[in-house]
């Protein structure tokens, strides 16, 4: 009888991998976008298993919420022609498959022979408090820079998407 967290890991991992495979393999890009949301939710579940509840909430809000909506918007604004054949492979797909498989085998072989050394210690009872301390203490400057980066990205995205004058 496997315990509940083992079972949850295998279920979440299977769901995440299956949804990611559907993102890559389906021919309709709207379906791909919806399976992408499922992948993000699966990853959020993995975070919960790893006791990163705050990160799971951020994942659901930012990825499954904002990024997914952005991608669906972009799909809807750019589609032309047959939606059922909107997400096809290019001519390099065999080479891409070989490269991806080779990389996977290299990574699994390399991690399989590593002897990880854990530092002893207890996880803090409240993740949120520890993250807040880190953000406003040790990582205060990267935190502020991230805020500036987001502002710049928003302004840049608006400028780009609005477009310039018509060229004619």
């Amino acid at each position: 009888m496997p315990d509940i967290s083992t079972l949850a890991f295998w279920l979440l991992a299977a769901m995440t991998i299956a949804a990611a495979g559907a993102v890559v393999l389906l021919k309709n890009i709207v379906h791909s976008a919806l399976y992408l949301v499922l992948t993000f939710v699966g990853v959020a579940g993995i975070y919960v298993l790893l006791q990163a509840e705050f990160l799971a909430a951020v994942q659901v809000l930012v990825y499954a919420g904002a990024v997914a909506v952005l991608i669906v918007f972009a799909v809807m604004l750019t589609r032309r022609g047959d939606i059922r054949a909107s997400n096809l492979f290019n001519i390099n797909y065999l080479a891409a498959a070989v490269v991806s498989l080779a990389l996977f085998m290299v990574i699994t072989m390399a991690t399989g022979r590593m002897a990880w050394m854990a530092t002893p210690g207890q996880a803090p009872a409240s993740n949120v408090g520890a993250i807040a301390d880190a953000f406003l203490g040790r990582f205060a400057i990267p935190f502020e820079i991230a805020a500036v980066l987001l502002l710049v990205a928003i302004v840049g995205a608006i400028l780009l998407a609005r477009g310039g004058k018509e060229e004619q």
Binding site: T6, F9, A13, I17, A20, V23, V24, I29, S32, A33, L36, T39, F40, V43, I46, Y47, L50, A52, F54, L55, V58, Q59, V62, Y63, A66, L70, I71, F73, A74, T78, S86, N87, F89, N90, N92, Y93, S100, L101, L103, I107, T108, T111, W116, A118, T119, G121, A123, P124, A130, I131, A134, P142, A146, L149, L150, I154, G156, A157, L160, G163
Partner: protein, 102 residues
């Protein structure tokens, strides 16, 4: 018993699926989806290392949050670029984006 290596294998598999999608797709938005899968795989690795190797501090989770921030900025700018290119070319097929080729 689920060990660190299980999570690393999951992250590696997700990364390679994303890499395959980013390399093998015609549609620019599908390439972006592949990149998002790769970034998620990296985040799984960071959080797993945090959980198994250094549970007393939350450094891995902080890194994952920064990755999420940068990914959100990246996807916003990239989709604006795709929209702009589509408006000029009426196409989001990256094989056709060869203006810089001579």
């Amino acid at each position: 018993m689920i060990t660190l290596n299980h999570y690393l294998a999951l992250g590696a598999l997700l990364f390679c699926i994303g890499l395959f999608g980013a390399l093998a797709k015609k549609n620019a938005i599908a390439v972006l989806m592949g990149i998002e899968l790769m970034l998620n795989a990296v985040n799984i690795n960071l959080v797993a290392f945090n959980h198994f190797l250094e549970p007393a501090r939350v450094t891995g989770q902080i890194f994952a949050i920064f990755v999420i921030v940068v990914a959100a900025a990246e996807v916003a700018v990239a989709l604006a670029l795709v929209l702009n290119i589509y408006r000029r070319r009426l196409d989001s097929n990256i094989d056709e984006l060869d203006w810089l080729k001579w």
